[in-house]
Symmetry: C2
Subunit: 333 residues, 2 copies
């Protein structure tokens, strides 16, 4: 094995992402410049949004270009530091990129209060768990006895969002693909019910579960499923626009949802998008709350681990196809 | 002339509303029962949303059925009262229906502190003006130096919304159909600029006016124009979903706007619908604020008056076709 390994975007995908869109290559050992730290990367996060960043259209990050080391999020340990406040052995998170070692400006990194197992910092306490937490806390705001619907309910964010809504006292219905995932969200995670969108339409499922109106829809997928739930929202309902995974990995995007803006007006619905990175100043608060729920046994999390940095592309392709349950991550070191 | 006259929905329109969908007929003089008042109706409000109420699909009011007196909003004077707190001569507003006299439960009516000219109670201080006020106050919340775009800018609500945004210190661009309306919103109402959507695309117009990102879009029309503005929203932009007039009077609704939910996520956009009726407890506050702006000469309003109750259908058809400037109302008495 060479000193370092990196995963580079080889080609911009047009439709479905494939392994050939990446290149895993040897690299030299970087050196930390002034204000930088050298990181040994321990774990990499695989997130559906990674696919959206590959689009030539800018999102909230610059578009990833062919030849770029894929700028994924990760967890690393400081090996050497040229930055005040960072010392060897510190655990940090940030956009490490998909590689084994990186020299990065310290100002882009966040030191973590280490908790064991350390993977929690990428899953339930990480970007994933915090996305669920801020989405509900800031946008969805479920009240006791309200009905909350969560799409991609067995996924990294949805599984946490649904459980947090249960903790808030709501009735929670998950939407997931396949019987196994549906059983998982009900039996393991405590959702009140689940709809297998591969076996029935979301509309029929909501009807079958006696849903008169959806108060909060935590939407991770967009597309036709958003339209289906929109038509069943309650007055003063809130749609947490967290992700659009049904549309990231396709060359033929779905049309916009009918009912926008007509139903928004008539039912006084709020639809609101957010990016967890905007809440960085409040990460500690979210992590404490999430850690408290985990410690009390109220919040479960599942991790979907692939070993070896060369498997990062496979992990992302799996997530985009809905092949994961829980948080997908790459064990690097 | 008979004792009373009423305008009844004769037929449910499928596509464009036409005069033949209504019937103007003689009626008897109603008698106020217990808890009711007898009203002489002075002015009727004509609102684009009236058309939406004719759809068989329930909105926030029950669908209007053929044979129903059209349940429009109006301003009346109490002629006789069987209700505590209401006396002959009182000016009231409420869903009077399109007729000359009505006996109505007092609990559905609101007594007004009479201001002259009394038409203000339907225009700048009425449902129309308050819709603009609550939409901006509660949802749009424009800040100084932000860019606000208003559609149907020469219309009853848009004309007030744009001026209120100017008062808040924003840069305001109106979208209207035709050169005369565009000149009106800039020269008479003080908007910073206008886009004539009949002469250029909204996207080109925004570009021509150097708009980098729209912070608040006060949307009265929905449809393709909503999509055009959505693609030019700034991060953390807000879309006030006030109306969908482009879609009320058609049998072939436009598809939903592309960019929902993708752009909402990436740009952290909030889209929110509202109905002014939900804010009834705060009407006095809004009216005082609006009356203060009018008195100070900061807020202008235009009234589009048709004389005679038989012209109510014509007024509504005109509004749906964008033929009005300012608030359309029917002078009954």
């Amino acid at each position: 094995m060479s000193e370092n390994t990196e995963v580079v975007l080889a080609d911009r995908p047009q439709g479905h992402l494939e392994p050939g869109h990446f290149r895993v290559q040897d690299a030299g050992m970087p050196v930390a410049g002034a204000g930088e730290v050298l990181l040994r990367i321990l774990w990499l996060s695989v997130d559906p949004a990674n696919r959206a960043w590959m689009s030539p259209v800018p999102t909230y990050v610059a578009p990833v270009k062919p030849g770029d080391v894929f700028p994924g999020f990760g967890l690393g340990e400081v090996v050497a530091s040229n930055a005040a406040g960072f010392a060897p052995g510190d655990l940090v998170e940030g956009v490490t990129g998909w590689r084994r070692f990186a020299a990065l400006p310290a100002r882009g990194l966040r030191r973590l209060k280490r908790r064991e197992p350390v993977t929690q910092h990428l899953s339930v306490l990480g970007i994933t768990g915090k996305t669920a937490w801020f989405g509900l806390e800031e946008i969805g705001r479920p009240k006791r006895a309200e009905t909350v619907v969560v799409s991609a309910a067995a996924g990294a964010v949805g599984s946490i969002a649904g459980q947090l809504a249960k903790i808030a006292g709501a009735r929670v219905i998950g939407i997931a693909g396949g019987e196994a995932k549906c059983r998982h969200v009900v039996e393991d995670l405590g959702f009140d019910a689940a709809i297998d969108y591969k076996a029935e339409s979301v509309g029929e499922g909501l009807k079958r579960h006696g849903v008169k109106g959806v108060d909060v829809y935590f939407d991770n997928v967009g597309g036709p499923m958003l339209e289906s739930v929109l038509f069943r929202m309650a007055n003063f309902g809130r749609i947490v626009c967290c992700g659009n995974v049904s549309q990231y990995d396709t060359a033929t995007p779905a049309p916009g949802p009918r009912g926008v803006p007509g139903l928004l007006v008539v039912k006084r619905i709020r639809m609101e998008g957010f990016i967890v990175l905007d809440y960085e100043a409040r990460y500690d608060e979210a992590e404490e709350a999430l850690a408290g729920h985990v410690a009390a046994g109220r919040l479960k999390y599942v991790e979907d681990v692939l070993e070896g940095i060369d498997r990062a592309p496979e992990g992302l392709i799996r997530v985009l196809a809905g092949g994961n349950t829980g948080k997908t991550m790459i064990k690097v070191a």
